[in-house]
């Protein structure tokens, strides 16, 4: 109970500190696919995953060419709370609530920096997850699929200092009802007893914002992400994992009234190294970074230079000794 009280207390502190934090997600709507990191939960188990993303967007690119230009930069910070509830041995429900802060800095002609920002709750995601593989039959593998909506709970009407509504990718919300598909695969004892193979695939089918600029219809591009990587368990005072993922992301162009919005969409490949520390089976922390390896963008646009993320996992009512990343503590 003390653990539960401590976690709830700290969650409340987290919520009350929102106004002091810069928290945002990526540009191009509120893509939360990369943060759907929880697997499934045992029945009657509630898991929390709190993630902070710090996305530095200052590479100006034209196609595959980086243009040396530091006049403009964006920073998106997001704080995402992902709650995973085990409904049944095979089913779990995940809810993601983001808080997004978008910042834009432009070096003006007199070298002053013009700063603009918008922050608020983003769009919520609901996923119903299904465990395809029975753990009794496949004790070393986990394969989950999920689907659900992204609800346009985030605001899309933040204004700049002149009282004018900012463009779509500066808003915490997207204004559109989207569909999400998600799949998670993990195989323990992959090549080595302490190594796991993991993969996460997400797809977002974007809906339309029918209230863009009062009279227009805006639609962010559909987004596909595939993550694959290796997780290695080791023990340094606490159980730790080190991991490296590769991520492929593609997004189709945004549409304004059905027509291509210039400078949107593209393909990206990232390297994602990181590590996790498991203080207990109920509590772990994870840190990782996204580093672009390849980018091919439509037109000229600012894109991610790098991103770092911090994640805190805790389990409120753990029924088994299995941590979320299937770390076999008794085998260390």
């Amino acid at each position: 109970m003390n653990t539960i009280r401590a976690c709830f207390f700290l969650v409340m502190i987290t919520v009350s500190l929102q106004d002091l934090w810069g928290q945002a997600c990526c540009t191009g709507g509120v893509p939360v696919g990369s943060t759907l990191g929880l697997g499934t939960a045992d029945p009657k188990t509630v898991q929390f995953l709190l993630t902070y993303d710090h996305n530095v967007i200052r590479d100006l690119m034209d196609g595959t060419t980086v243009l040396e230009d530091d006049a403009r930069s964006r920073l998106t910070r997001s704080f995402l709370m992902e709650v995973n509830y085990g409904i049944h041995q095979r089913f779990a429900l995940t809810v993601v609530l983001p808080f997004v802060r978008q910042e834009r800095s432009i070096r003006e002609y007199n070298n002053q920096i013009g700063f603009t920002r918008a922050q608020g709750f983003g769009d919520m995601v609901f996923l119903l997850k299904y465990r395809i593989l029975k753990p009794q039959v496949y004790p070393n593998s986990e394969w989950l699929v999920g689907a659900g909506p992204k609800i346009p709970t985030g605001r899309t009407d933040f204004k700049n200092n002149q009282g004018l509504t900012m463009v779509a990718d500066m808003q915490p919300g997207s204004g559109s009802l989207d569909g999400m598909i998600w799949s998670f695969y993990q195989k323990s004892k992959f090549l080595l007893p302490t190594m796991s193979l993991l993969g996460i695939v997400t797809y977002r089918a974007s809906g339309m914002n029918h209230n863009y600029n009062q009279t227009q219809v805006y639609q962010f591009g559909n987004e596909f992400q595939a993550n694959a990587g290796i997780n290695y368990n080791l023990f340094v005072h606490w159980p730790m994992d080190v991991f490296v993922f590769g991520r492929y992301r593609s997004q189709t162009v945004d549409l304004a009234d059905g027509n291509t919005f210039p400078g949107s969409g593209g393909k990206w490949v990232y390297a994602i190294p990181g590590l996790s520390v498991h203080f207990t089976p109920d509590l772990s922390i994870r840190a990782w970074g996204d580093f672009p390896l390849y980018r091919s963008l439509n037109g000229s646009q600012l894109t991610t230079s790098y991103k770092y993320s911090l994640s805190l996992f805790f389990n409120l009512s753990r029924k088994t000794k299995e941590p979320v990343f299937n770390l076999k503590l008794d085998e260390l």
């Binding site: 401590a6 700290l10 002091l20 243009l67 403009r72 200092n161 009234d257 922390i285």
Partner: protein, 362 residues
């Protein structure tokens, strides 16, 4: 006590995750648009029709006093690429669309003239304004705002926002002031070089890293259905992205679609708002220019083409030769100038939101 490591962990997480508040320091100012917040309510135009275009103030960097080179020193322009041309006192300069698509405004000095070439890629309209305004000599920048999808420049002396197609200041200290318009000719690079073989042209060395050979707006120029931002009024008589010459007076405009002209130079004698004018058009050469036919002393000129050896000059009944900027370059009236007619090329759709009466030359 066994909870202390968890509390420390979570506290550490929160500390690491906490972001800064607003950036501070004298170099940071609230961004977005040209005017300071206290002027944000005083718009001459409906504020609900002013939109944030996305890049932010100076997010599209205007060029100031760029480098120019001889035509023979560049290879980034094809013959059919469009340029805005200006010539005065023996000096000719070309401001290519390939550069203006990325910067929208070029602040320049030509002979004794300080001008700002202002081009909006979304409405296809290009014009030049005298940089001497009531507050003094200024440069213009891109505010990042749009009115009826048309660029809103701002002047750097007073931070006032101006509407390109309204030809007036619409927000800020100088609201209501009208700029002095300087005539430009929009034509193909090949035609401009033919007119002015010694022309200078903007160099690619702009101090900005851009891929000037790429058009940044995809299929926008040719897609008649694509308007990226709202307009308050539409007119479906012509295809939206058809290039037309708009001759303006007050709330009225008469447009001349370039497609209505043949592939050889034609003179069209016309009247607009009771003023006698002549349109010089050549579709293959991609040029349309309007000139006033009435001189200040009341004489109405009857123009003819000067001949193949001077294909871009006009003759009149008095024996004068005129260039397409309306200046007499030889004859009894040498040195005189016709009163300029406000005009610019642009996409057809861009005129309806700004003008009540639109005539179309058929």
């Amino acid at each position: 006590m066994k909870n202390i490591p968890k509390i420390r962990t979570i506290t550490l997480f929160l500390a690491l995750s906490s972001g800064c508040g607003e950036p501070e320091g004298p170099d940071f100012r609230p961004g977005g648009g040209g005017s300071t917040p206290r002027d944000s309510q005083n718009w001459l135009i409906p504020e609900a029709e002013v939109f944030d275009g996305g890049p932010g103030k100076d997010g599209i960097p205007a060029l100031n006093d760029p480098a120019f080179v001889a035509a023979s020193e560049i290879d980034y322009l094809e013959d059919e690429d469009l340029v805005l041309g200006y010539a005065t006192e023996g000096e000719a300069r070309a401001y290519p669309h390939k550069i203006l698509d990325w910067h929208e405004i070029i602040n320049d000095e030509v002979a004794n003239t300080s001008l700002a070439v202002i081009y909006c890629p979304l409405t296809g309209t290009g014009i030049a304004w005298d940089r001497m305004i009531s507050a003094g000599k200024t440069t213009f920048g891109v505010s990042g705002l749009l009115y009826n999808t048309n660029v809103i420049p701002y002047d750097r002396l007073t931070d006032t926002n101006w509407s390109q197609m309204r030809f007036e200041a619409v927000n800020g200290e100088l609201t209501g002031e009208e700029p002095k318009v300087i005539s430009l000719i929009e034509t193909s690079w090949a035609t401009w070089k033919e007119m002015y073989p010694d022309t200078k042209v903007v160099s690619l060395e702009t101090d900005h890293n851009r891929n000037y050979r790429n058009y940044p707006y995809g299929d926008y120029k040719s897609n008649h259905n694509s308007l990226l931002f709202p307009v308050s009024k539409t007119d479906n008589r012509r295809p939206a992205k058809e290039r037309v010459l708009g001759v303006m007076k007050g709330a009225n405009v008469k447009v001349y679609p370039i497609e209505h002209f043949p592939d050889e130079t034609q003179l069209v004698v016309d009247t607009f708002q009771e003023a006698p004018i002549v349109i010089i058009g050549n579709r293959a050469a991609n040029i349309l220019v309007a000139l006033n036919r009435r001189l200040s002393d009341g004489t109405v000129l009857e123009f003819t083409l000067a001949g193949e050896s001077n294909s871009w000059q006009l003759g009149d009944q008095e024996g004068n030769r005129w260039n397409l900027f309306g200046k007499a370059i030889s004859g009894p009236r040498e040195g005189e100038s016709l009163e300029a007619i406000p005009q610019m090329m642009g996409f057809w759709f861009s005129w309806a939101p700004f003008f009540e009466g639109i005539e179309v030359y058929e």
